[in-house]
């Protein structure tokens, strides 16, 4: 590879490292600002952590802005992406539609959980999700949903007597 040829095409979007640095600088800066008002003993450790974080975040942002190319080559070659994140994840390549559909289902479940409680939302989500996303038959999804809810009810409410999310209307 010639020295002038980039290893991989640059994205035309905002540099994620710059954005991450700015967001973290705001978070740490805000934390520092909040900690200033506390009792000295309660504040000293958070002040130290937030100050260190703020300075590091600023340093990362400045470095990302000034030596973008150097960073791209030296720190994040494709083979050396973070150790825990080196699987083939779909998040880098997913289309806008995939994101919207997935987040709608995911978020929809938690909204239903908040409003309807665990058992009702589990029943509705299972039937709706498997019918639309996996094209399963009505019989299959109803039996599947009922068994799932029955297992949950048996394990958490009957056996362990553990509270489960009751929902806004206290349906559980």
């Amino acid at each position: 590879m010639s020295a002038n040829t980039p290893a991989h095409p640059r994205r035309p979007t905002i540099d994620a490292e710059v954005l991450g640095g700015i967001v973290l600088a705001i978070v740490f800066g805000g934390a520092f600002w909040l900690a200033r008002g506390w009792d000295r003993q309660a504040a000293i450790f958070p002040l130290g952590v937030s100050a260190a974080g703020f300075l590091l975040a600023i340093a990362l942002t400045v470095r990302a802005l000034t030596s973008r190319r150097m960073r791209a080559e030296a720190e994040t070659p494709h083979e050396e992406i973070a150790a825990d994140d080196n699987l083939e994840y779909i998040f880098q390549t997913a289309t806008a539609r995939q994101w919207i559909v997935t987040l709608a289902w995911f978020g929809g479940f938690f909204v239903a959980l908040y409003v309807l409680g665990l058992y009702a939302s589990a029943l509705i989500f299972t039937v709706a999700y498997l019918r639309t996303q996996d094209r399963r038959s009505w019989l299959f999804v109803i039996v599947y949903a009922l068994v799932l809810v029955a297992v949950l009810y048996g394990a958490f409410t009957v056996l362990l007597a553990k509270p489960v999310p009751p929902g806004f209307f206290g349906l559980v």
């Binding site: 589990a122 999700y129 996996d134």
Partner: protein, 503 residues
């Protein structure tokens, strides 16, 4: 002591004790597999059943459940990337990638065997520690505990995988999150934003489930395939034996990781969440193939799996010897001691030594039964990873929500879990390491607590204590060895690339 050990074996092998242990093992499996249902909660739920029992059957029930939960927690970590227990989070890092490569059987074989090896190490340490532990523990004070926590934090260097700057930032963010809640010494609410729900701080369960499990569920929802990213060959779930052999071939790693788990759990408050990442970091540091970590390295699975039961044995030691619980679960166990009329401390090491030794045997038998049963179930369990993804989604999404909710029965924990799902996905999307964040989170409050205690008790003199200086030297050594490694790597980098880097 030998008499007590053989006498205790006879007591443990009575039908009542064995029955209680089997019930405990079955419960432990359920508790371990369900995220959020931690050992401490279930131990507390089981306590009332032990009121009328003799001590040994009572501990057979409680300890049988307690030690098996750690082993079972690794199973969901490997199969679905959702840690069953907070102390199983590190198993996700390599266990789940192995599953996605169609090696679920091998990963489960390795993690279960390493859990058994770790348990053996913990048991041996428990037996050997009983006569000598008091002077050893009393020689270690808050400065040394602070030093150990700081040493744990230096593993960010290893766990950041070439992204030191980002790793340090993620780690500091984790430390910051750990400070949310009432300050333990002054009672000042910190970063609670006026919410009473945050006064108790952020629990580790929604953080772990969100950062790791949530991202995997979203991934499965988007790709719509099975968990295992390969077409299932007829022998797709074979490999259990090779997983077992992987661990047996790398027994020194499993033994060292078990020792790390046991030793760190001796320190009150450190617990398994810290030990697993330190063992993982150590394995990566000494590995000949560190680049495979995070992509499905069997060494990573072995190291994190070996700390499971070992850390339970470790936390039993200060509980028995001093009545100082090493973790939330051992705090509940401590109340069981008192309910059953046992006084932790000198009596447990003298007049009640047989009860203490029965715990050793219970831990041993419960682990053997649990690992044996789990190994028999590996094939059907591993087949789950070839089931259509959408079919698993309702089940997994329910696991996430119940897991997050069950810790404190609060919807706020579910909201926090969703926040960490977003952070976890953002980390994956933009190549930020997640593990240092979790390491910072588990060590943050420990660091602050022991720093405060060290200053209060010793002023600035604690910086000159010999044991602290020895730990400080280890910390310096970690950084020096990292620097040397980086320099060596730079020297071996081909010239053209160096040119590019220099520009």
């Amino acid at each position: 002591m030998l008499d007590a050990l053989t006498g205790a074996l006879g007591e443990v092998l009575t039908p009542t004790s064995l029955l209680m242990m089997v019930i405990g093992v079955v419960l432990g499996f359920v508790v371990g597999i369900l995220p959020g249902l931690g050992g401490a909660v279930t131990l507390a739920l089981l306590l009332p059943f032990t009121y009328s029992m003799d001590p040994i059957p009572a501990f057979a029930l409680l300890l049988g459940m307690y030690v098996v939960a750690s082993t079972a927690g690794d199973i969901t970590s490997v199969l679905f990337g959702v840690p069953g227990e907070a102390s199983s989070a590190a198993v996700v890092l390599d266990g789940y990638p192995m599953t996605r490569q169609g090696q679920a059987g091998r990963a489960l074989g390795a993690v279960l065997t390493s859990s058994a090896v770790g348990a053996l190490v913990g048991i041996v340490v428990l037996i050997l520690a009983i006569p000598v532990i008091r002077p050893v523990i009393l020689a270690i004070g808050p400065p040394e505990f602070f030093g150990l926590a700081l040493l744990g934090l230096t593993f960010v260097v290893t766990l950041s995988s070439g992204q030191m700057h980002k790793g340090l930032l993620a780690c500091l963010f984790g430390v910051l999150v750990s400070l949310v809640g009432l300050d333990p010494s002054t009672g000042v609410p910190r970063f609670t934003f006026g919410s009473l729900d945050l006064w108790n701080g952020v629990s580790i369960v929604p953080v772990v489930i969100g950062l790791f499990g949530g991202a995997e569920v979203l991934q499965l929802m988007m790709q719509k395939g099975s968990v295992a990213n390969v077409t299932a060959p007829p022998d797709a779930v074979q490999g259990v034996k090779s997983g077992i052999m992987d661990t047996l071939r790398r027994w020194p790693l499993a033994v060292r990781s078990g020792a790390i788990g046991t030793a760190l759990s001796l320190v009150p408050g450190m617990g398994g969440s810290v030990a697993q990442f330190i063992a993982y970091g150590h394995a990566k540091q000494v590995s000949k193939k560190p680049e495979e970590f995070g992509k499905g390295s069997v060494e990573g699975v072995i190291a994190s799996g070996a700390t499971g039961v070992a850390k339970d044995c470790g936390s039993l030691i200060p509980t028995i010897a001093f009545g100082i619980p090493g973790s939330a679960s051992s705090a509940v166990l401590l109340s069981a001691f008192l309910i059953l009329g046992l006084n932790p401390g000198k009596e447990m090491l003298t007049t009640d030594l047989e009860v203490t030794m029965s715990m050793v045997w219970i831990t041993f038998f419960a682990t053997v039964v649990a690992v044996g049963a789990a190994l028999l179930l590996v094939r059907p369990l591993a087949k789950l990873t070839y089931i259509s993804g959408p079919l698993l989604i309702p089940f997994l999404i329910l696991l996430l929500s119940i897991g997050a909710y069950s810790e404190a029965n609060s919807f706020v924990d579910i909201v926090l879990m969703l926040l960490f799902v977003a952070i976890g996905v953002a980390c994956i999307r933009w190549d930020w390491p997640r593990v240092p964040m979790l390491l910072g989170f588990v060590l943050g409050s420990i660091l602050e607590r022991y720093l405060f205690l060290s200053n209060s008790l010793f002023g600035a003199d604690w910086l000159l204590r010999p044991a602290f200086l020895a730990i400080a030297a280890c910390i310096v050594l970690v950084f020096v060895s990292y620097g040397v490694k980086v320099r060596r790597e730079r020297r071996t980098t081909p010239a053209p690339e160096l040119d590019e880097v220099a520009r």
